[in-house]
Amino acid sequence: MKIAIASGKGGTGKTTLSTNLAAYLSETEKVVLNDLDVEEPNSGLFIKGKLIHKEDKYKMIPEWIEDKCTLCGICQDVCNYNAIVQIDPKIIVFPPLCHSCYACSELCPEAALPMVPKKIGELKHFEYNKLSFIESKLDIGEEQAVPLIAQTQKYTDEHFSDDTIKLYDSPPGTSCPVIEATKDADFVILVTEPTPFGFHDLKLAIETMKALKKEFAVVVNRFGIGNDDVLDYCEKEKIPIIAKIPNSRKIAELYSHGELIYEKVPEVKLQLKAIKDYILKMIEGGKR
């Protein structure tokens, strides 16, 4: 079963929930946690683990072969992203802008633009007690999260069986990276805070999940602050709230030290158990 953990925005406690839930679930279940927030993977700060595999990740970009080129200009003309320009007498490629569509390469009449791999980031696979943890990190200056997210999911699918619970800590926002991270998920957990910011961002996230036709439920973090708008809204819209993680300075302090929280705050463990029960019920109910 693939479960994405998402939120309209960063800072709602998505990583805290992902890491604690993953560690807690792994006490009894087969679990792999993926940090798909490839721009800034943070889960690894909370789950140290033993590195068991590491690989560079690439995207394909065209490489200009000067000797073959007749400077016909077709490549510059076909690129919709201005990633390739002709500045006579040269063709220059801007890798961060390239979407690897292959158009320039395949339409070049002289075969002067073969596609070559360029490193965009790194994937690491860790083991921490019984938990498997995969993290991908985009190199600084690389702008395209989507290909790396897709490759990380592929790696996970190839290395873990279907009966593993696959958790995806998704990137924030509602644009391409989140779509990529959640589109294969069987179920999405939306993390929010009971504040106007949290409520506003939750609505955007819900809109996104509805557009993707995803099944989802809500976890309220920092429960006890703010107001009841989130709770009232979920009740009215019949969106299940499967856990409420309390607000406390203690949690903020543990988090700041990079520690897992549930072992030290019993109330958090109780809430994780509620999420676990919900997930196991879904699995029994016929979801993979």
């Binding site: 800072g11 721009e39 644009s175 703010g226 903020a252």
Partner: protein, 291 residues
């Protein structure tokens, strides 16, 4: 006219609350822009009137004219994004997967494919409840290219500031370290980094500063929730020293942050104590850095 951009590497550090406080303190004297277009939130505190709006187009999406299509399948073959599945015997473009590269349209033998411009968001020019002009935007779901929208919102803000002789444009920047944040800080005179003293806070600060450094923009830093972890405050300060980043101030962990937000106020309106004093001083210090 000077441009100040507030960023944080990652969400949840209090960036928007702090930016809105500065905007509130300045009243009509500045132009405000919310460039966190993916999930813009500043309007919840500044309550702009959403008066003028304009669609934002960017990128293209392929569309197949079924009357012309001969089902040859060439388009699906060249598409590297698997965006042209066959549905009920017809080649159809899946809008969520199409990257608008235009390759399919170029090779379709019967010209059945056109590229259409896509509406990817809306941008607004508003007046806030404190009388300042505010530029903000909303990105459509699943849209790419937030970088371009950020650039547009910023450009517009600068134009308005120039035309009205305002000294400052204050920008709530984008989260993360990707393309939108680069657009947020391009051309800025000062970058304010908001961070918190935690393992992840320091990590994100260092990462995002690598970008700021590349652009050689003067930077300052506010450490929020500073009393939660003195050890990291020390580490952050060391980092600021090494990099020549101005330490603007420390803000204590204070539930007034959330309480103010909950009733739609900025901190400097709600809090009658230390937070407001520190924020007022911070804002003056930042402006001072730019004189």
């Amino acid at each position: 006219m000077k441009e100040i951009v507030v960023i944080s590497g990652k969400g949840g550090t209090g960036k928007t609350s702090i930016t809105a406080s500065f905007a509130y303190l300045s009243g009509k004297d500045i132009v405000v822009a919310d460039c966190d277009v993916d999930a813009a939130d500043m309007h919840l505190l500044m309550k702009p009137d959403f008066k003028e709006s304009e669609d934002f187009y960017s990128g293209e999406i392929a569309k197949i004219d079924q009357d012309k299509c001969t089902n040859c399948g060439d388009c699906a073959n060249v598409c590297r994004f698997d965006a042209i599945p066959v549905i009920n015997g017809e080649y159809i473009v899946d809008p969520l997967s199409c990257e608008g590269c235009g390759y399919c349209a170029r090779i379709c033998p019967v010209d059945a494919i056109t590229n259409e411009l896509q509406i990817v968001g809306e941008q607004y020019v508003s007046t806030t409840r404190v009388g300042s002009k505010m530029l903000h935007a909303k990105l459509s779901i699943g849209a790419d290219n937030s970088g371009k929208l950020v650039a547009k919102v910023k450009d517009e803000a600068k134009k308005i500031a120039k035309n009205n002789n305002k000294d400052f444009v204050l920008i709530d920047g984008s989260p993360g370290i990707g393309c939108p944040v680069v657009s947020s800080i391009t051309g800025a005179n000062f970058v304010l980094l908001v961070t918190e003293p935690s393992v992840s806070g320091l990590h994100d600060l260092k990462r995002v500063y690598q970008i700021v450094k590349k652009f050689q923009i003067k930077a300052g830093c506010i450490i929020n929730k500073s009393d939660i972890n003195p050890k990291f405050v020390k580490e952050i300060k060391e980092f600021l020293n090494e990099e020549g980043i101005v330490h603007i101030s420390n803000l204590p962990y204070d539930e007034n942050f959330t309480k103010a937000m909950t009733i739609g106020q900025t901190i400097v309106e709600y809090d009658k104590g230390d937070l407001t004093k520190i924020l007022t001083k911070s804002w003056n210090k930042i402006k001072g850095e730019l004189l």
